[in-house]
Amino acid sequence: MDGSARERGSLRLSRGTRRRQRLAAAAGQLFLLAVTSLSALAVFAIFYFIARDAIPFFRLEGFKEFFTSTRWYPSAEQAEFGALAIFVGSGLVTLGAALVAVPLGIAAAVCLSDVLPFSARQVVKPVIEMLAAIPSVAYGFFALVVLAPLLQRSGGPVLAAAAWIVGAPVAALLAFILSDLLADRFPERAQRRARWAFLILLGSGAVAALSVAGRALSGLEIPSGTNALNVSLILGIMALPTVVSVSEDALQAAGRELREGSYALGATRAETLLRTILPAARSGILAAVILGIMRAIGETMVVWMASGNASQIPEPWYNLLEPVRTLTATIAGDMGEADHVTGSARYHVLFAMALCLLTVSFLCNLGSEWVLRRTRRKAGG
């Protein structure tokens, strides 16, 4: 179309400059449209070429084994392609990453948007940007060379220390709230004393519980440092910047008026945020979580280097100390198998996995987009 328009333009050149100009403009615009569509249509090309090599797998082996069996023996004489354990592995490390990234990310975003002064924000932003910029292979190298030996050598104490760092503030906070709520039931005069009593009681209980947990954790022996926990931690850190920046945008978008209204009613900052701002920014934060999760699912190098690549469902399923195998690592590690040219199931199964990944990321994307669009419409209306 573009070419023919240009041709016509050149034929009618003599008939007047205005017309020529208009045609040139139209042609130019068409050219722009073509390039834009080309870059957008790349997505369809990706879907097409991945699906083209994935469909033969399902035709050869059917769906049932792939999605329901955990027996992954792609190279055996009687090859078996049960990818369930691999799906579970991907899901498990993603869940682990979300457990790290979501609470930390939202807390950091709240802090950035409502607590820290502008000057401090200028310092924190580059930290987040640097975390986002460090290449995944550098994270993977760290996971394999620094973190895995550390977990193996002194995994128990490290975990115990982590439990204290995270558990102590949470427990202290819970103790305060509970003792306050309990003390409210007492008559006015005794309240002060009751609060202290409950606080000491609950506090010492929490310390006892923490130290029991800590002792149990520090006695833990981790036979293999390349496991789901290692990968989850690193993936969590990698997903953090996404979660922080998208949820911060959402919090900012919630608007000044809401905050001022809430403060005017006498609410503290925490109450304002918890009761007013967070609910208002709910869908934006949801989108942030989805985008963060997508980053974790799609990550290859870290899981390939540090997840252990054992195709099993951990026992019990949430045991993060077991090695797991993920979709991305399987594709990276197994690709280029011999019978590529003859079109063996071995080769196509990897494309089937890529297709699943692609579908999941596509759905997540649609989800986050829908959520964001709804927010925008709400904000606009």
Partner: protein, 448 residues
């Protein structure tokens, strides 16, 4: 709830946020500190005379007379060691068979360790592999070698229900009562004289080729490969991304088709990087045959596709941020639409666009998964520009993976691995700093 509790809650809430940020900063620090401390040791380290000999023999670098004098001095200090070994061996050959059997294995081990520390024995044919042609070039490795010469690792398995216990046994005990026993105090005492360690700044790590699968030399082919890949990616992605952004902001009407286009671009941004790699293999190499096999070109095309959405979005934002008045003024002066875009809007949006480009450059330079099947090899010479169309290349990101997991002596080339990581991280962080700087400039300009 009482007021004090509400206050405490409020503080705790802020505290949680600050804690989260502190944890994040701590994570960054924990990540970067080993990379910087150990990575810098690839360039700044104490080098032995073997390092200088290597540079002289391979690159004719350094003051020949001075280095040869050093080598002479080191050889002189080593001579007694080799003489002791040779004497012991000849006496053993004359002696009875029982003695030969007793000392054969310890002697062989000792010789191996001495060769590991000091390089080949004088008077023997030159070994084929470079790693056997030189002793230890770095003091840290040489100290390890010294330790291995002096002490033998032994494991006590007397209690099979527990793991063995490591015992370091002095090798001197193996040769007690023989002439060789005096070798060990000599080696320990004259360690520095035999290796002449000296503080060295080896910038060649960044500009030299690697030798003998990264046992020696630098990482120039990797740096160059990453440079080519990034440049190629930009050349492909930036024009397309820019055109798309101009169309989306200045020309397109908000139709359903446009919404579809946007969804497509967003989806493209969310595709996992390994899927790009598969697509690059399945399409660019197997179907389109852009090159006979892996090549920088195919890798760049794959990476370009991956960063395209980032470039489009950043450029769009930058163009949208240009004040409407600019455009209206230009149009009212009778400038055509294209004219306005080209001469007014784009120059005004340029810093913003550059920021986006710089950030996506960082991403392209650091990605590994898309180039595994399309561009990366573990060993290769630095390429000339025209060779990038057909030939694969080593690259920083891939070689970090390769050296950390696939190399035959992973722990002997740790300094190279850390050096590669540091180089890549520095490159990416510098690009990001540049972006931050650009953005700050824009912000200042906007305020004025």
């Amino acid at each position: 709830m009482s007021l004090p509790t509400r206050k405490i809650l409020d503080r705790a809430f802020s505290g949680a946020g600050v804690l989260a940020i502190a944890l994040m900063a701590a994570a960054l620090l924990i990540l970067l500190v080993p990379m910087f401390t150990r990575g810098s040791q690839a360039v700044f380290f104490r080098a032995t005379v073997e390092h200088r000999r290597f540079l002289l023999e391979k690159f004719e670098r350094g003051d020949r007379a001075a280095i040869e004098a050093e080598i002479q001095a080191a050889q002189a200090a080593r001579a007694p060691v080799w003489r002791l070994v040779a004497d012991f061996e000849s006496r053993l050959a004359e002696g009875e068979a029982a003695g030969r059997g007793k000392y054969r294995k310890p002697l062989k081990e000792l010789r191996n360790e001495l060769r590991f520390l000091l390089g080949p024995e004088p008077g023997k044919p030159r070994p084929m592999l470079m790693r056997d042609q030189y002793g230890q070039t770095r003091l840290d490795m040489a100290q390890l070698g010294l330790e291995r010469v002096l002490r033998r690792e032994e494991w006590d398995y007397s209690d099979p229900t527990k793991g063995g216990i490591r015992i370091l046994k002095p090798r001197a005990e193996d040769f007690e009562g023989t002439a060789l026993a005096e070798l060990f105090p000599y080696v320990e005492k004259n360690f520095a004289r035999m290796l002449l360690p000296r503080r060295t700044v080896y910038w060649g790590f960044l500009t030299d080729e690697s030798f003998d699968s990264h046992f020696f030399g630098g990482i120039w082919p990797e740096i160059l490969g990453t440079f080519y890949l990034t440049l190629g990616t930009l050349l492909l992605a930036v024009p397309m991304g820019l055109i798309a952004a101009i169309y989306l902001t200045e020309y397109a009407k908000e139709t359903r088709f446009l919404a579809l286009l946007r969804t497509c671009i967003n989806t493209l941004a969310g595709v996992p990087s390994i899927v790009f790699g598969l697509f690059g293999l399945a399409f660019f190499i197997n179907v389109a045959h852009v090159s006979p096999s892996k090549s920088v070109l195919a890798g760049s095309m794959t990476l370009a596709l991956m960063i395209l959405p980032t470039v489009i979005r950043a450029s769009e934002e930058a163009i949208k941020a240009v004040p409407r008045a600019y455009k209206e003024a230009a149009l009212s002066l009778g400038a055509g639409r294209w004219h306005t875009v080209w001469n007014v809007i784009l120059p005004a949006a340029l810093p913003g666009i550059l920021t986006g480009i710089v950030i996506s450059m960082g991403r392209a330079a650091g990605e590994t998964a898309p180039i595994i099947f399309t561009a990366a090899v573990s060993v290769g010479k630095p390429l000339a520009p025209w060779q990038t169309l057909t030939q694969p290349t080593p690259a920083l990101s891939w070689n970090i993976y390769n050296l950390a997991t696939e190399h035959e002596a992973v722990d002997l080339v740790r300094h190279v691995q850390y050096g590669l990581v540091l180089t890549l991280v520095c490159l990416v962080l510098l690009l990001n700093l540049l972006a931050i700087f650009l953005r700050a400039r824009i912000a200042r300009k906007m305020r004025n």
